[in-house]
């Protein structure tokens, strides 16, 4: 589903956000992306949904090199993805329903069907009673759940979530994670960026760790940190 080969992202000549990242995520897999703040988790997600372009390397999503994707094809690729942004990115002047049904509305899906789908996903995140509310009438946690509902309403093949439980209490966070697992069981590949190590431990899923823009590979790290034993060259005295 996702393949990265030697991907780097630089902001200006001196700031490396990501350095030589390579990994693969199989279709239907659920992975966590973790690391301290500023490690490059959000940057990596932004590269995956084409909000930014890598400075070096190649990214394949669904077998397509997204770096060479024609501009006109980008919206179509994005519609196969669901994205939960760290800052929610809800449209303030639209209601919860309109935020969730935006793409369906653009594509001309019947309003009744839009409502049915929106109600269904909002019920899954426990906000079906807030369909006509505006984002500024909701708490941070509720806005987060609306963002999640929007991400999953089109049943994407790939779900990218950037700190999706950052604004939620532990009980709700657990429920949202359960929802992600449920979506994953239905076949959606899920990539969740979080620094909640306790949750990662409880979920027991594959985890990629970023540190200062580099992918932390435990095996490679072990090899690099092992004592170097070299035989001294034998130099004959004469």
């Amino acid at each position: 589903m996702i393949q990265l080969y030697g991907v780097s992202k630089k902001y200006g000549p001196f700031r490396d956000a990501l350095l030589d990242i390579s990994f693969q995520v199989a279709a239907g897999e659920f992975i966590f992306l973790t690391g301290p703040s500023g490690a490059g988790k959000s940057t990596l997600l932004r590269l995956l949904f084409l909000e930014e372009a890598p400075t070096e390397g190649q990214i394949l999503v669904n077998g397509r090199n997204i770096g060479v994707l024609p501009h006109s094809q980008i919206p179509h690729l994005r519609r196969t993805m669901g994205v939960v942004f760290q800052d929610f990115r809800l449209i303030a002047r639209k209601t919860v329903f309109e935020n969730i049904s935006f793409v369906q509305n653009v594509l001309g899906l019947a309003r009744a069907e839009q409502k049915r789908r929106a109600y269904h996903v909002l019920k899954r995140v426990g906000l079906h009673h807030q369909m006509n509310a505006h984002p500024d009438e909701l708490s941070g946690g509720e806005q987060q759940r609306v963002a999640i509902a929007r991400a999953i309403v089109n049943e994407p093949t790939l779900l990218l979530a950037d700190e999706p439980t950052g604004n939620l209490d532990p009980v709700l966070a657990e429920e949202i994670m359960r929802l992600f697992v449920e979506i994953n069981i239905r076949g959606t590949t899920v990539v969740v960026a979080t620094h909640d190590l306790e949750m990662i431990r409880r979920m027991g899923k594959r985890t990629l760790t970023l540190e200062r823009g580099r992918l932390h590979d435990p095996d490679r790290m072990r090899a690099e940190s092992a004592p170097i034993v070299r035989e001294a060259p034998f130099l004959p005295l004469s």
Partner: protein, 300 residues
């Protein structure tokens, strides 16, 4: 394929989110089209005057003696290939013309027992007639029996036509300048609306909205803005026309009352909203770029 209802709803939402800018742009379009519209109306009426009895002053006016054979003299003049039209104006017709031009004098004229104006021949020349033809014909007819006096007015006629042409050209020039200003004002309004929706546009794009879905509401918004501006200009122009007509009916003017008689024809009138809509669309294209332009993509 983007749903039309979505485009209309978004365009309305854009207009509502920046009412002041929308109003300013509509006002500018209306004013920009009203001024050239007014000049077009003036040119049209002056042009009508130029083509009418009053407005197409004859190149030569031959005043006849009361007992002259008007028809014979007219036919004699008409034989000249440079002559386009010979109009016989009887004493009654001359009096009637005077009454229409000076209605205030109606009471005094009513007391007249006989027509005070002598009969005359009004000679109009072909456009191809060389300069000096009027003087030449005047010189010849002056010697004919039954002719009292002859006056060549060719120069006035030419100057009048030149003046009408000048008004028309000024209208076109001012119209072009003001239309360009209208286009730029719509472009500014669209740019402002876009700035207000910058975050949304970025979100829409990340959600998978196509460039067409993002731009189409802005195109529609600007086009309707221009259309409304053009329609207002048309309404203002018609209001001006009716007001002037009412004023001239109430207080007739010897010159204005004669030529201020008609509004723009339907096709010409509909050009104003059409120009407005075209100016709006052009403004939005200037501001956003076309479907394949990446100008808008910088904000994502």
């Amino acid at each position: 394929m983007v749903r039309p209802r979505y485009i209309f709803a978004e365009a309305w939402s854009i207009a509502r989110s920046s009412p002041r800018q929308t109003l300013a742009a509509i006002t500018l379009v209306a004013l920009a089209l009203y001024v050239p519209g007014l000049l077009a109306l003036l040119a049209r009426n002056l042009g009508r005057l130029a083509a009418s009895d009053a407005g197409d002053p004859p190149a030569v006016t031959v005043t006849l003696l009361p007992d002259a054979d008007r028809r014979a003299l007219a036919e004699r003049v008409a034989k000249d290939p440079r002559v386009r039209l010979v109009r016989i104006v009887g004493s009654e017709a001359a009096l009637d013309r005077f009454r229409r031009a000076y209605p205030d004098l109606g009471a005094a004229l009513a007391e007249l027992r006989e027509a005070p104006f002598p009969p005359s021949l009004e000679i109009s020349l072909r456009a191809s007639a060389p300069r000096g033809t009027a003087q030449e014909i005047a010189g010849a007819t002056r010697l004919w029996p039954g002719v009292e006096s002859v006056e060549a007015t060719e120069e006035f006629s030419r100057r009048f036509r030149d003046a009408v042409g000048l008004v028309r050209n000024a209208g076109l020039f001012i119209g072009a300048v003001l239309t360009a200003a209208a286009v730029l004002s719509v472009a500014s309004a669209v740019r402002l609306a876009l700035d207000l929706h910058r975050d949304e546009v970025g979100i829409m794009r990340l959600m998978g909205a196509t460039e067409g879905a993002i731009r189409a509401p802005f195109w529609l918004y600007a086009t309707v803005e221009g259309l409304i501006g053009g329609s207002i200009a048309l309404g203002l122009l018609y209001g001006t026309y009716r007001l002037a007509l009412w004023w001239l009916t109430r207080d007739p003017h010897p010159v204005l009352s004669v030529f201020w008689v008609g509004f723009l024809g339907l096709p010409a009138a509909l050009l104003l909203p059409a120009f407005g809509a075209a100016a709006g669309l052009t403004g939005s294209l200037l501001s956003l770029g076309g479907g394949k332009s990446r100008r808008l993509t910088r904000i994502a």
